[in-house]
């Protein structure tokens, strides 16, 4: 029974690692411009497509798969960052100052736009990795009698490494200081001589990078398809809210908490096909009990 419990906990932590990577992007952007970027799940998907494009364009067997996987992950991150930069530049910047509702609707528009663009590729047919890369990613590592997909062992270190990198940037660099200043008060930051447009743009790039890498981590265990960012995006958004949207440690904690809760519900006997219900239930619970989230700060309304 303990063995069972640990297995489900592990599955939850792996899923949580992905959620936390995506949730960080939501929280960064929300923290700085109060925008819920619903297109964030699509940055995840674009990253996965870019990774797959590199894989399928490279001649088979040209480089060792052990080298190819990290390269594909980097390309995915770069593509996620790139599309985030483009989206911010083309869609969000022109309407900045037109209110939060306009920005939110634009985000939904960007999301649909990217999904449909992706559907042009191979008519939206799901793409899967084959050959040596697939063999490595889908290789089973036995823990006791249980086979676990080897790629899942990469989730936690990859997620921790990227999260630490992000913390370093936010809390130890000039860019991070500018980001935090912009997040506290955009106008004051601008008056202090911070180029807030550039800071916002870089915030999107950072979030997009994390989402892109997460996209290929998931694609290596499953498939690449246009709607693949939708549920992870939604769940990561919930994770960000649960952890306290705007808070970076909150997103990490929220992500892992959500993944674990989803699988504990399965462990408790709910059919796996219904595990997403757990995230929505958790969201409602948090919104009722502690609307600012686990690590969020309560906003006082000034009259």
């Amino acid at each position: 029974v303990v063995d069972d419990f640990l297995y489900y906990l592990m599955a939850g932590v792996c899923l949580g690692a992905i959620y936390s990577l995506v949730a960080l992007g939501y929280t960064l952007v929300y923290g700085i411009i109060k925008l819920i970027n619903f297109a964030h799940g699509e940055f995840f998907m674009v990253g996965a497509y870019a990774g797959f494009a590199v894989y399928s364009l490279a001649p088979a067997g040209a480089i060792s798969p052990w080298l190819a996987i990290p390269m594909i992950l980097l390309v995915s991150g770069a593509a996620g960052a790139g599309i985030a930069w483009v989206a911010e530049r083309v869609a969000y910047r022109p309407i900045r100052g037109s209110g939060r509702l306009a920005a939110l609707l634009t985000a939904i528009g960007v999301s649909f736009c990217l999904q449909n663009l992706a559907a042009f590729v191979n008519h939206g047919n799901a793409l899967s990795y084959h050959g040596a890369i697939d063999t490595i990613a889908q290789h089973s590592i036995y823990v006791g009698t249980r086979g676990i997909r080897s790629i899942q062992f990469l989730y936690i270190p990859a997620s921790l490494l990227l999260t630490l990198g992000l913390w370093y940037i936010v809390y130890r660099t000039r860019l991070g200081k500018a980001m935090r200043a912009t997040s506290q008060d955009l106008d004051a930051a601008r008056l202090m001589g911070i180029n807030t447009d550039a800071v916002i743009s870089r915030t999107f790039v950072l979030g997009g990078f994390l989402a892109g890498v997460a996209g290929t981590l998931v694609a290596l265990q499953s498939v690449v398809e246009p709607m693949m960012g939708f549920m992870p995006g939604l769940n990561a958004f919930i994770a960000a809210v649960v952890g306290g949207i705007g808070s970076i440690p909150g997103a990490t904690i929220g992500g892992y908490a959500l993944g674990i809760v989803q699988y504990l519900v399965v462990y408790a006997g709910v059919p796996t096909g219904y595990k997403d219900i757990a995230s929505f239930a958790l969201l409602i619970l948090v919104l009722v009990i502690r609307p600012e989230g686990i690590l969020g700060t309560r906003e006082t309304q000034k009259v």
Partner: protein, 380 residues
Amino acid sequence: MRNLAVGLAAALGVAFSCAGCKSKDANEVKVGVSLPLSGALVSYGKDVMAGVRLRVDQINASGGIKGRKIALTVEDNRGDPTDTRSSIKKLTEVDGVVAIIGPITSTSALAAKMDADRAGVPLITPTATNDKVTENTRWVFRVIFTDSFQGGKVATYVCQTMGLKKAATLIDNNSDYSKGLAASFAKEFAALGGAVTASESYQQKDTDFGTQMDKIIKSGAEIIFVPGYPPEVPQIIKQAKVSGFKGLLCGGDGWDNAAVIDNAGDKIVDCVFSAPFYVEDNRPIVKEFVQAIQASSKKLPGSFEALGYDSVSLVAEAVGKAGTDRSAVAKALHELKDVEGVTGKITMGPKGDAVRPAFIKKVVRKGDGFAAKYVTTMNP
């Protein structure tokens, strides 16, 4: 402003539809097609479309239906029930088709049924297997067999021929096809003395099936029945290998497609499923069909191409007998007998379901890849 926009759109619609009916050859027989030509099920949609096109070209090349050529109007329904409903509306109201071929999935067919009923247009689904698709309507027809039939036959083959007595089912929660087929498999398997040791579920777009597989392995199942579609089915087969499942997997007609067989890794070898068509069939009509599909699609046809091809044959036969009045075509479809098709001689049963055998197929290695091979025939 909104009213203006709606009015404008309506006016344009009318203008286009009339322009359509006047400029085209009034003698043509208009047939509508509603298939997933994009999205997760595009592989099914394209294959059915290849069969439909081939048969239409053959009929038109040999002079059409009593001298009248078939004109196809093709709509992409993306495999989505809502889009399918709008495509049926458009095909009947704007294009004025005589009959519609499609859709693919049971969930979409159940949604389209309402519109076919309301509009009074014969809807010929090549592939939707859920029993309810043809119930309580005179307008819906199916070329493939039903879930209660194929589920029972797979259960019989697994239990009696393979001698396996412990099975698990793994069901797609969002699919009427998956739920209906799993239920009929489980019912027959239990009736034959087997035990269903676990019944697990997943959602479309899920990417990890580890916990389901874990529960199934622990239940002691020797075979897992996975009635579903790509991209989940091939991932589940891969998962079975990763998790260390020692037995085999089996499925329904949805497996008879490259999107499943080519993407599932080597665990698919020896897996079995039911299908309404097999390429090894010796009849001349099948040989000609296989050659033609190979020439156009550069691969061997599966059930989806074959069902698309036969759907057109049925429509052509009915229109040949009854003309282009929709109600008369529906009546003629109900009375079809022994129409020679690539999936066999087709006779319409009382509900609008084609009466036909199921073929059990098994996946074998073929060169670097995999292919489905005919094993046996299961008669009704």
